[in-house]
C-alpha cells in the first residue's frame, strides 16, 4: 500500500500523485518506472517515475486518463491509499557528463523527461528543452523545466501557446542552429519519438528514447513488452525502457500498441454506462 500524499489535477485528463514510497525513492534513478494496481480485479499499469524525493521519501507520477483504469484512478483522493505499487523497474540510467543535450518531451512525456533533464543539468550539461502539448490547457511542469533548462522552447499543436506546431518543428530549428549536440533525449508518443530519431539520424547524434509497450508484470516474466532493437528482441521492462532511438523498430512498436484496442474500447463503453460521471471529460 502507498498513500497519495499530494494530488493535483493538471488538465481534465491529466493528474499528478505524490506517493509515499521511501524505499522506492531511495533506489530510484532517472528512467526507472513503477507498476501500480488498485482495487479488486484491477490491472497492472506501468508508469515512468516523474520525480523522486529521497528526503521526503516520495515519488511522483503523472497519469493521463486514457482507459478505464486510469479514469477510475482519477477518483482516488489525496490521503487515500493505492493498493499496490512496485518498483523501481527497468534498468535506469546513469547519466554521465555531457556538454550539450536536447531534451524533447511530448505531452505526458514531460513527466518522464524531467528526472533525466535534472540529472543532465546536475552532471553539468548545457540543456535545451523542447516541450510540446496539443493545446495550452494541457500544459504542466513548465516551471520545473524552466529551472533545469538553459533554454526552453514550447510548442502547441494549435498555437495557443509558444510556437505553433509539433516538437519536431522546434527540434529542426535547434538542430540547424546547434552543431555540438552530444545527445538527444526524446520521450512522448511513439510517432513523436520515431520522428525525432529520424531527424537526428543523418547527423548521427546519439538519441535516447523511452518506450512504453504493453506489459503485465514488468519484471521480465511475461515477454509482452518485447521490442526489436538493432534487429534483436529485447524486453523493455528489463533491458530498457530506454533504448537507442536509431535502433528501435518503431513500426512494430506502433502495431503492438494496438494489441488490446478492441478490449480497451469495450471496457471504456462499460465504464461509461456504469459510472457516467467519470467519462464526462470529453475523450
Amino acid at each position: 500500500m502507498s498513500k497519495i500524499i499530494k494530488r493535483e489535477q493538471y488538465s481534465p485528463v491529466t493528474y499528478m500523485w505524490e506517493l509515499e514510497a521511501p524505499e522506492i525513492a531511495k533506489a530510484a534513478m532517472p528512467g526507472h518506472f513503477v507498476i501500480i494496481r488498485h482495487g479488486k480485479g484491477g490491472e497492472r499499469i506501468p508508469l515512468t517515475i516523474a520525480d523522486f524525493d529521497r528526503t521526503r521519501g516520495t515519488i511522483t507520477l503523472v497519469i493521463q486518463a486514457v482507459g478505464k483504469t486510469t479514469m477510475e484512478l482519477m477518483d482516488l483522493e489525496q490521503g487515500e491509499d493505492l493498493d499496490d505499487l512496485v518498483g523501481p523497474l527497468g534498468s535506469g540510467r546513469h547519466i554521465e557528463a555531457r556538454r550539450k543535450v536536447v531534451c524533447v518531451a511530448g505531452g505526458l512525456g514531460v513527466a518522464p523527461v524531467y528526472p533525466q533533464l535534472r540529472a543532465y543539468k546536475e552532471a553539468g550539461a548545457r540543456t535545451i528543452s523542447i516541450v510540446g502539448f496539443r493545446s495550452k490547457n494541457l500544459m504542466f511542469w513548465l516551471d520545473r523545466f524552466e529551472s533545469q533548462s538553459d533554454e526552453l522552447l514550447i510548442t502547441t499543436d494549435d498555437g495557443s501557446h509558444g510556437t505553433k506546431g509539433f516538437v519536431t518543428t522546434a527540434l529542426k530549428q535547434v538542430l540547424e542552429r546547434e552543431q555540438d549536440i552530444d545527445e538527444v533525449l526524446a520521450i512522448g508518443p511513439a510517432v513523436m519519438m520515431k520522428a525525432c530519431a529520424e531527424m537526428t539520424r543523418p547527423r548521427e547524434i546519439h538519441t535516447v528514447v523511452s518506450l512504453n509497450p504493453i506489459m503485465v508484470d514488468g519484471t521480465g516474466m511475461c515477454g509482452g513488452c518485447r521490442v526489436t532493437v538493432g534487429g534483436k528482441m529485447v524486453f523493455a521492462c528489463v533491458d530498457g525502457p530506454e533504448f537507442d532511438g536509431h535502433a528501435v523498430d518503431f513500426d512494430e512498436l506502433l502495431l503492438r500498441a494496438k494489441r488490446f484496442e478492441r478490449e480497451e474500447q469495450e471496457s471504456l463503453e462499460r465504464l461509461k454506462q456504469e459510472k457516467p460521471h467519470v467519462c464526462r471529460i470529453g475523450l
Binding site: 490491472e43 499496490d84 508484470d217 528489463v238 469495450e266
Partner: protein, 497 residues
C-alpha cells in the same frame, strides 16, 4: 468385535489387493471445457479408504525415496486407513507443508508412485490422490491454522520469491526459530502456483488458505518488492541484517524461437498468456480489468505441462480449435501423463513431429497463419531424446490467429546483474553447491527453477528443504530433530533414471 475380524483377515499381499487404483471422480470433459472449476474432484472418504487399503506396508518401503521431500508415505497411508486423518496430516506436514497443492500438481507417476513396490506388478498406490484427500481435509477442518510453538533464535533470513521453494525453506527455518521475511515481486504471494498453474488444476483460494500457514509461523511476506531493483542482495545482508538469503525467483524469462514474425499481435509467451488468465483472472474480463486478447484458432508450441495448461485454458476461453504443435512425438513429450490425457479428452488437436518456421501476419499486424514443417526423429541428442530433423519439402500453412509459445524459460537476469560475485552458468542459471544449495557467495543460497531451469513444484520444494538445513548450519543453529522413519528400501537404478 473389530479386533477379532481383523485377526481373522488374511495377510494383505500384492495378491489380495485391488489391481487398479480407485478411480477419482472428475468433471466430464464436455462439461469442464466450459468452466474454470477443478477438473478432478478428489476422493470421497470411502474412496480414500479403499485406496489406502491397497498399500501393503512394505518392510523396506521405496516410495519415500521417490519423494523429493521424503514424506513418510506408508505411515500417513496407514493413518488414513485407520481413519486417523488428523494424524495423517501431521505426518505429512513434518515434511511437506503444502499437501493439498502437491497432491494436485506433483508428477507422482515419475516420483513416489514410480518407486512404489505395488507399482512393479499392479497399478501403484494412488499416493498423490491420498495426499490431496488429507490436505483438503486439513484445510476444511482448519488443522493447518494451529499456531506452532516456536522459540526465537535471534537469527534473520530472507527468501526472494514466494513460490514453492521459498515457502518450504521459510517454514523449515521458521520452525527452527529464525525470523524469516519473504520478498515477492508481484502483488500477491505464491509465485508460479498463482501465475502459472490454472484455476482448474489448482484453485487460487486453496493456495491462499494453504499459505495462511506462513502467518501461523510468523513468517513475514512482503509483496511488491523486487530484489535487485528495490534492494540488492549486498544491501540486504549488510544493511538490513539478513544473515542468509535464499534466492528462489523461478526461471520465468520466456523463450521465443527467433523465427520471422514473432512481433505480430496474437503471439504470446505461455507466461504472459497464463499470467493474464490466472494471476490477473483475465477470464473474467470485462468484470476484471486485464484483457487476454485471444482468438478462435490457437496454436500452442511445445508439449510440456505449461503447454498443456495453455491448450486447456484456450478451450475454456472459447477457442474453436486448439492445436498443440510439438517437434517430437508423444513419447518424448515432457508433460505429465495425466495432463496429456486430460488435454486429449478435452479436444486439443495434437500435431506431433511438427515445428513452426515462420509466422505470417495480416496488413494490420495480426497473426493469420503459421508456417510449419514436418519433422522426423534422428539420433539421440545430449538430452538423451532423439533429435528432431526437418523433412524438406513438407512445409505447410496452419491458419491460426493466436500463437502461444510454451517452449520453456530462461533465467531472469535481474538478480545476477545486481549481485557482484554471484556465479551463473552459461544459461544464466545460478550455480550452487549440490549438497547445500549455497551459491558462490557465502550466506547466499539458491534453489528451484533459477538453479535447475523449469522443473516441478516438488523439486523446488526439495531444494528449499536442502537449503534450509544448510542455512541453519551457516547461522549456527541446530536443525530440529526429525521424527523417526522406517528403514528405506533401495530404489532400483533403472527407476532412478
Amino acid at each position: 468385535m473389530e479386533s477379532t475380524t481383523e485377526n481373522k483377515k488374511p495377510k494383505r499381499t500384492i495378491k489380495t489387493i485391488a489391481k487398479t487404483k480407485t478411480p477419482i471422480p472428475e468433471q466430464k470433459p464436455e462439461v469442464r471445457v466450459t468452466n474454470f472449476s477443478e477438473v478432478s474432484l478428489g476422493y470421497t472418504e470411502d474412496q480414500a479408504l479403499a485406496e489406502a487399503a491397497r498399500c501393503i506396508h512394505c518392510k523396506k518401503p521405496t516410495c519415500i525415496a521417490g519423494c523429493p521431500v521424503e514424506i513418510n508415505i506408508p505411515a500417513f497411508i496407514k493413518a488414513v486407513e485407520e481413519r486417523r486423518y488428523r494424524e495423517a496430516y501431521e505426518i505429512i506436514k513434518q515434511d511437506n507443508i503444502l499437501p493439498a497443492i502437491c497432491g494436485r500438481v506433483c508428477p507422482q507417476e515419475s516420483q513416489c508412485e514410480l518407486t512404489c513396490v505395488v507399482g512393479h506388478k499392479l497399478e501403484s498406490v494412488g499416493i498423490g490422490r491420498l495426499e490431496r484427500f488429507v490436505g483438503d481435509m486439513a484445510l476444511k477442518e482448519g488443522w493447518a491454522e494451529v499456531k506452532e510453538e516456536i522459540k526465537p533464535s535471534g537469527h534473520k533470513a530472507a527468501m526472494i520469491g514466494s513460490g514453492p521453494a521459498s515457502i518450504t525453506c521459510a517454514v523449515d527455518l521458521a520452525r527452527a526459530g529464525v525470523d524469516v521475511t519473504i520478498f515477492e515481486a508481484l502483488h500477491t504471494a505464491g509465485g508460479v502456483l498463482k501465475y502459472g498453474i490454472p484455476e482448474f488444476r489448482l484453485p487460487k483460494a486453496l493456495i491462499d488458505r494453504e499459505l495462511r500457514m506462513l502467518q501461523k509461523l510468523d513468517v513475514k511476506v512482503v509483496t511488491n518488492a523486487i530484489i535487485g531493483r528495490l534492494y540488492t542482495i549486498p544491501q540486504m545482508m549488510q544493511e538490513m541484517g539478513f544473515e542468509t538469503v535464499f534466492i528462489a525467483v523461478g526461471a520465468g524469462y520466456p523463450n521465443f524461437m527467433n523465427i520471422p514474425g514473432e512481433g505480430y499481435n496474437g503471439i504470446f509467451s505461455a507466461n504472459e498468456y497464463l499470467t493474464r488468465v490466472n494471476l490477473m483472472a483475465g477470464y473474467e474480463h470485462p468484470t476484471n480489468d486485464t484483457p487476454v486478447g485471444m482468438g478462435k484458432n490457437v496454436a500452442v508450441i511445445g508439449s510440456g505441462n505449461t503447454a498443456m495448461d495453455a491448450c486447456r485454458v484456450s478451450l475454456r476461453m472459447g477457442a474453436e480449435n486448439v492445436y498443440c504443435v510439438y517437434r517430437r512425438t508423444r513419447k518424448e513429450s515432457p508433460a505429465r501423463a495425466e495432463e496429456l490425457e486430460h488435454a486429449i479428452e478435452e479436444g486439443v488437436q495434437f500435431h506431433w513431429l511438427t515445428a513452426p518456421i515462420s509466422i505470417i501476419g495480416d496488413d494490420n499486424g495480426w497473426v493469420k497463419a503459421m508456417e510449419c514443417i514436418r519433422m522426423e526423429l534422428g539420433e539421440p541428442d545430449s538430452s538423451g531424446r532423439r533429435r528432431p530433423i526437418p523433412k524438406e519439402g513438407t512445409e505447410f500453412l496452419f491458419e491460426v490467429d493466436t500463437v502461444v509459445y510454451a517452449i520453456g524459460t530462461s533465467a531472469n537476469p535481474i538478480i545476477a546483474q545486481t549481485t557482484p560475485g554471484l556465479e551463473v552458468n552459461k544459461w544464466g542459471y545460478i550455480k550452487v553447491d549440490e549438497e547445500t544449495q549455497m551459491t558462490s557467495l557465502p550466506g547466499v543460497f539458491a534453489g528451484g527453477d533459477i538453479v535447475t531451469g523449469g522443473a516441478t513444484v516438488i523439486l523446488a520444494m526439495g531444494a528449499g528443504r536442502v537449503a534450509s538445513r544448510a542455512m541453519l548450519k551457516h547461522m549456527g543453529i541446530a536443525p530440529p530433530p526429525r521424527p523417526p522413519r522406517p528403514e528405506l528400501g533401495r530404489v532400483s537404478k533403472k527407476l532412478k533414471k
